[in-house]
Symmetry: D2
Subunit: 354 residues, 4 copies
Amino acid sequence: MGSSFGNLFRISTFGESHGGGVGVIVEGCPPRLDLDLEEIQRELDRRRPGQSHITTPRQEADRVEVLSGLLDGTTTLGTPIAMLVRNKDQRPGDYKDMAVAFRPSHADATYQVKYGIQARSGGGRASARETIGRVAAGAIAKQLLRKVAGTEVLAWVKRIHTIEASIDPQGVNLADVESNIVRCPDQQIAGRMVERIEAIGREGDSCGGVIECVVRQPRNGLGMPVFDKLEADLAKAVMSLPATKGFEIGSGFDGTRLKGSEHNDSFIPAEDGRLRTVTNNSGESIVIRVAFKPTATIRKEQQTVDSDGNATTLAAKGRHDPCVLPRAVPMVEAMVALVLADHLLRQQGQCSLW
Amino acid sequence: MGSSFGNLFRISTFGESHGGGVGVIVEGCPPRLDLDLEEIQRELDRRRPGQSHITTPRQEADRVEVLSGLLDGTTTLGTPIAMLVRNKDQRPGDYKDMAVAFRPSHADATYQVKYGIQARSGGGRASARETIGRVAAGAIAKQLLRKVAGTEVLAWVKRIHTIEASIDPQGVNLADVESNIVRCPDQQIAGRMVERIEAIGREGDSCGGVIECVVRQPRNGLGMPVFDKLEADLAKAVMSLPATKGFEIGSGFDGTRLKGSEHNDSFIPAEDGRLRTVTNNSGESIVIRVAFKPTATIRKEQQTVDSDGNATTLAAKGRHDPCVLPRAVPMVEAMVALVLADHLLRQQGQCSLW
Amino acid sequence: MGSSFGNLFRISTFGESHGGGVGVIVEGCPPRLDLDLEEIQRELDRRRPGQSHITTPRQEADRVEVLSGLLDGTTTLGTPIAMLVRNKDQRPGDYKDMAVAFRPSHADATYQVKYGIQARSGGGRASARETIGRVAAGAIAKQLLRKVAGTEVLAWVKRIHTIEASIDPQGVNLADVESNIVRCPDQQIAGRMVERIEAIGREGDSCGGVIECVVRQPRNGLGMPVFDKLEADLAKAVMSLPATKGFEIGSGFDGTRLKGSEHNDSFIPAEDGRLRTVTNNSGESIVIRVAFKPTATIRKEQQTVDSDGNATTLAAKGRHDPCVLPRAVPMVEAMVALVLADHLLRQQGQCSLW
Amino acid sequence: MGSSFGNLFRISTFGESHGGGVGVIVEGCPPRLDLDLEEIQRELDRRRPGQSHITTPRQEADRVEVLSGLLDGTTTLGTPIAMLVRNKDQRPGDYKDMAVAFRPSHADATYQVKYGIQARSGGGRASARETIGRVAAGAIAKQLLRKVAGTEVLAWVKRIHTIEASIDPQGVNLADVESNIVRCPDQQIAGRMVERIEAIGREGDSCGGVIECVVRQPRNGLGMPVFDKLEADLAKAVMSLPATKGFEIGSGFDGTRLKGSEHNDSFIPAEDGRLRTVTNNSGESIVIRVAFKPTATIRKEQQTVDSDGNATTLAAKGRHDPCVLPRAVPMVEAMVALVLADHLLRQQGQCSLW
């Protein structure tokens, strides 16, 4: 447990930032699904470092190798699909100071307290490299969802620091999201976001923000009472990503300021027999928002404690993202797609026999 | 799955609002724990309907019977602890209209779409009665946490509709929370909250708000990389409660407006060898907030669709809470305690052998 | 864990021999299954004590109450089905000596060593009463399997002590099995088995034997590579029953004396497109055999150790079965049906989407 | 699921016989365990093909690479340990005929029926290569068990075809087992076993037999009521190995011919406070036996059906083991060790808090 996620469509990730590599096993994928491997690679490219000047300049190609589970390298056999990305750029020297002085608000100290040991370089398992396995697996989940129900999962940056965009979740498309390096579909706001990240990065500081994600055309009936409600599993999924601090669905925190008569989504008859609602506070299509804190590792000098318990200061020397959000967009999509794929199979298992 | 929660300290709930009863099995509780059964009952009393004039006037005693797992009715055997609360007040007549017309933003329609069938009265599994099992199990988890690590889990109402209290999570205590019927430890604000609920209730309408919860003195090292982080499991836990729409931990959504240098919790040396932090954005003790939407079932007439797909209107006749938050406080505490108890056992299993 | 079994069709049992009752929650049952509750009760009647003079004379009606999960008491809602059987006949006095002196080859000592505590009377969780939940849940699984695939699960006593019957698994039917109190479909051998049990019982001793079970018309494709093979899950299922010491499938231990050319089941073309085999060593229909040891609790005086670690002797005073096999027949059927129902849903979940 | 095994100490295997490689992720291993990697390799060497003239002449070095989870390549971090063995010798040509004609009593047809697709060469997931991951993970489990409780897991060949050895499970040691190529610690019987395998192999035929395994000095208290009894989990573990047909523990099937007074293990006082028994029918140390059928793939011509449903014949051309037992010895040990390691952590998690 801990490094596995899902029930029927289940993934297990492995790997530290430095070492042989990182990867994932996808268990339970339906057989006879024709995979587009290039699409998996494209998703990994969206999360890789060095993709633009507002991300860390580390250059990691992150080429994925599929080790198992496919016939002729394309069609799923129904057996575990293992994927491996080798670690290339290790540069342990940059992290040397951190091995001694715990990075404030970073998982360094947490690992040491929990396990009595920790990977000495590069963040170990807490490194963002761990999400490579999630994104690769999520790319398979997306292809499954598209084939079965035409479901689309799409995320974008809604806010960077204090600069917020207002996006219509029904109208946004992937091309708009990918048209700029910050992944905000409002091009004008996107420009201001980039400038803000540049400015904060120059200070040796970092910033956070909010990512929004829509699921369009989810299959009817997904989600299970009472603990595995879709909102519960989605919350867990995205709150397991590094640096997340909050989760909202539908009307979220703001909706709690409405009265029931204002908040309820009235049902209206629809021609196709589906239930339609006038508004979407509770969710015909699904909209979530995720809060990401500012990157913990910064170049500015900070007060901390070293592994001997003595007060000291720390200024990070590694090449870190001043803002994780542009690279976190495909991570959010991946986690959401994994939840939906799992629930698709669970729904199919229990409710499609007659 | 779906009705079970946790891994080592694991609960499974059962029961619809109407029928033989509701309850829970608690699996994995350590043996030789002396349980205070009255404390379990007291927690159930905090969530039962009819406890004050701002909750539903339904009178349900909700007396719990422990069916198994105890020696001499007090000491855990290490085997499953089954607890049952009989359903007393059924009054199916009040729900008759709802069986036909789907309640807007209620789980009625969801169950019908998913299963092709639904409990015809009282909300079935989606009824708040289902949380009886959670609260009873959570009361055991609390006693376990207190014994092992002196851990305390305490929640309160932070906001009702637009009326918000500012509470210091380190200083609040149970007596303050329980000193008024809305469960807000700021007595003056609490009074205004009660008035607001009364006013909205008189309109036949409903309101939501925010519950805050603190975990003081959590055992060191809880939480697991990478999917079962404490924040991820806490998010799932509370987002599985009825009517929740959002989750925050530590600095939450507001923290995303800070820079890294402002947000990071600097470590400082502590005399007891524990790691201390100057601030608590990332969480030495744990503070979470949960958004609850306004109750879906209201007396005001609403537009909806009946089970034949025809447009109709609905005005609920049942005795429903105009605001679920006062009764949801023990539910939030229970879910948080269940997560911590589970992680306590998981940490013990992996990391205490030498 | 430990008291739960299955993945998608999942049961959790609870209850000690003495206390409020024993029972089970069945999670994951498909919705809209019309249950025959009388059939569930009939299965419980097959396992209840006092059913004949060769079982324990304890009289326990074991009437099952369904607490949840059904609409109008007959149709599954897709939500957890909880079933409860109250404990009636407690007579703790009979067990008083055993609470002190550990019963040789009984689970008494095991519980004490594991948990540092044990139920003082009646065997606690190790009592055969725990199997009530399994049999009740298995009765639901059987109805599910019959509806979906016409699958039939049938077991019988193949050997008592040294008296063995030779039964054709394809030809035997329930009426033959139930036509005598020992549940061996060969009526002549059955008579000799009854005499043997009577004779051994008169000596204050006990005996074991072998139960055989067939699954006819299992749905194609059940079982999963590599750990959850059908034979692996069936082995676990029946080896979790009290007093079991061995498991065989198909040709079993004897088949290991054959050469590959003798053992292999050659495929032959079949008119219905299914794959047929000339022989059935590997299993077109599934045949298993389970070894049950002689009942541990006997009236004969035995050498043992008391809870203070001193040597003593013990002669059981309770009313115990001299041979568990007649009552174990429905238990074996139940466990086998539970495995098949779970794999049915798992197969459906992964492999029926297109 | 399906390709994962265990709860707290949990493994997930991946890989087909042909393709990028086979391997395993080990989750939940305690941190700060100093691993002897050479010992892992030695276990793999015991199972690899080409190790002697009575196994398949395929030469596969099966060098394991540890991809993650270790500090300085030796000490566990508490995070997932991924291990990979590349596929070297593929020779798909040899398997061409089998892709069309289903091998009698082989998993070919099973995969096709279940998934509607199958790996066309080398057995895919059903290949014995899949057990590489189990053996590598089992080698870690063994080192954990040895460190924590001095537990030893040792297996040997007890019977080949009709040639049976009588071995004292308390006295046998690894050197005796490894002193001959068939892995039977009775050297004289071992010689006869080798001759039998040679003779049957020359006929183009195959044979099976029985492997026995002892666990010496298991930690007290392992195993959980009621479904996860040690015997149940051991049964599942070994019955998930390819070609197994039966499982026995302690007195097994033969013990069912004894009376209770003969079978019960009387307790006797012991100086060290542990409970001792006069005999070992129920298990102070644990002894199990596993039945392996004759290898399905043989050079002799067999009757079968091709993928078009037409009758045909098949004579295997690949280089197959005439008898799997010598190579299955480390597989049995691995599966047993994995069960014990998992139960060790589960026991620690629930029962060691006070």
